[in-house]
């Protein structure tokens, strides 16, 4: 496939590994903050290709993993309401809420349908005009503009039965939270798809303020290895900057149309991240002028207080403090078929990828 096969070229991979081994004279810890990178690093076995003095750490880049139990509880409460259809991305179904999950509610008769985009959810709203459709807005700067575009289409077409429950988040404040917490890293492998929207400039404050290298990176083996090489060179020269490796998709300023869509529909707000708690200005709430589409207004009172399994260490894994194999539940009780924590659910979750590619 074009733009894929060329970036999996074995000769160039060997060459980059030689360059990395030659340059890596110290100890390095780099964090990837995109679930797509976590999955690609495991899938291609990149960690095992690297010398032992370069360690890759997963961060909070899997959108369903950082979504709090309370959000799932709200969706479950909506799904139990008369006349409501939940139209959702599939990976939300199996995330445990406090005492149930959307998958369980579906098995008990709730009308929960899997869609691939907000536009598909809007189509359901048009064809089921007597019902209320709730679309969970999950994800970072990559999915938020799509949700915004969907809401604006609902406005144009007068779909008054379409609602969004937003848990959209923006990535840079979470990266700053990691640095402020003191997690020891020497640089960030920055999220390539998020940066197509935000532009590389959204990350440059991390290099400037916290003196950490940021390399915006693509998702093929050559992309990731090249980014690691760039970060090693930055650390060696003590010159942290924000660089674009993924130049075939990312610019400094990003996608202005998508940014305008986000700004039109959403405003920044404090948001809960699993593992972190509340982070200022890291969430995207629906603006007052579009509040009639905000499903938060229809949540029934008395949604149970969220609770998580105390033995689950998803939170510490998302902050880069622990790895999945340090969890007492991992692969014993918590498996993809029976996930205890969100990190075992998604294809992009650190526990899921670790289980899939380490346990065979």
């Amino acid at each position: 496939m074009k733009y894929v096969d060329e970036y999996r070229d074995n000769n160039l991979i060997d060459k980059l590994l030689r360059l990395i081994r030659s340059a890596a004279t110290g100890e390095y810890r780099f964090m990837e903050v995109c679930g797509g990178h976590t999955a690609a690093i495991r899938r291609f076995g990149i960690g095992s290709m690297l010398p032992e003095n370069i360690r890759l750490i997963s961060g909070p880049g899997c959108p369903v993993c950082v979504t709090g139990t309370g959000f799932i509880d709200k969706l479950i409460a909506c799904s139990r309401m008369e006349g409501v259809i939940i139209a959702t991305f599939g990976d939300l179904l199996r995330i445990p809420g406090s005492s149930s999950s959307l998958a369980r509610e579906k098995s008990l008769g709730a009308d929960i349908r899997i869609v691939f985009s907000g536009l598909e959810a809007l189509e359901i709203a048009r064809s089921e005009s007597e019902r209320k459709i709730v679309f969970p807005g999950i994800g970072f700067e990559t999915t938020a503009p799509g949700t915004a575009a969907t809401l604006l289409e609902a406005e144009v077409s007068g779909a008054g039965n379409f609602f969004i429950l937003s848990a959209h988040k923006v990535m840079p404040p979470a990266m700053e939270a990691i640095v402020k917490e003191g997690t020891i890293i020497n640089g960030f492998i920055c999220p390539g798809h998020v940066a197509t929207i935000t532009g590389a400039s959204a990350f440059s404050f991390i290099s400037e303020k916290y003196k950490l290298g940021c390399v915006i990176t693509g998702f093929e083996p050559l992309d990731i290895l090249y980014a690691i090489y760039m970060l090693v060179v930055q650390v060696n020269s003590n010159a942290p900057v924000t660089q674009i490796q993924y130049s075939r998709a990312v610019t400094d300023m990003g996608n202005l149309i998508a940014q305008n869509l986000i700004n039109e529909v959403f405003c920044k707000k404090e948001e809960y991240w699993r593992g972190f708690g509340l982070i200022s200005d890291s969430g995207l709430g629906i603006r007052e002028k579009y509040s009639k589409y905000d499903a938060d207004c229809m949540i029934p009172p008395g949604v149970e207080a969220d609770k998580e399994d105390r033995a689950c260490i998803c939170g510490e894994i998302l902050r880069g403090l622990k790895t999945p194999d340090e969890c007492s539940l991992f692969s014993r009780i918590c498996v993809p078929e029976n996930p205890v924590g969100a990190c075992m659910v998604s294809d992009e979750g650190a526990c899921h990828t670790y289980y899939k590619y380490t346990n065979g």
């Binding site: 733009y3 160039l12 360059l19 907000g118 536009l119 999915t143 197509t196 998709a249 998508a258 869509l261």
Partner: protein, 67 residues
């Protein structure tokens, strides 16, 4: 790769599988363009020029002195 465009949506082939993609975030898309597809929307067009340039840099990197 974009196969067909109908107003604000397109049919996009990913390795032969067809997906529907909203074109709300990108302009001047034509059939044959390569786009980044994410959650039902095209996020960005892929720059052939930059894709080639990255590979050229990698090809020209010198590994002398390394094992």
């Amino acid at each position: 790769m974009v196969i067909e465009i109908n107003g604000k949506t397109a049919k996009v082939s990913v390795g032969g599988t067809l997906f529907s993609a909203g074109l709300h975030m990108i302009e001047d898309v034509v059939v044959g363009d390569y786009v980044l597809l994410h959650a039902g929307f095209a996020l960005q067009k892929i720059s052939e020029e930059d894709a080639t340039a990255t590979l050229k840099i990698l090809n020209e990197m010198k590994t002398s002195g390394s094992k």
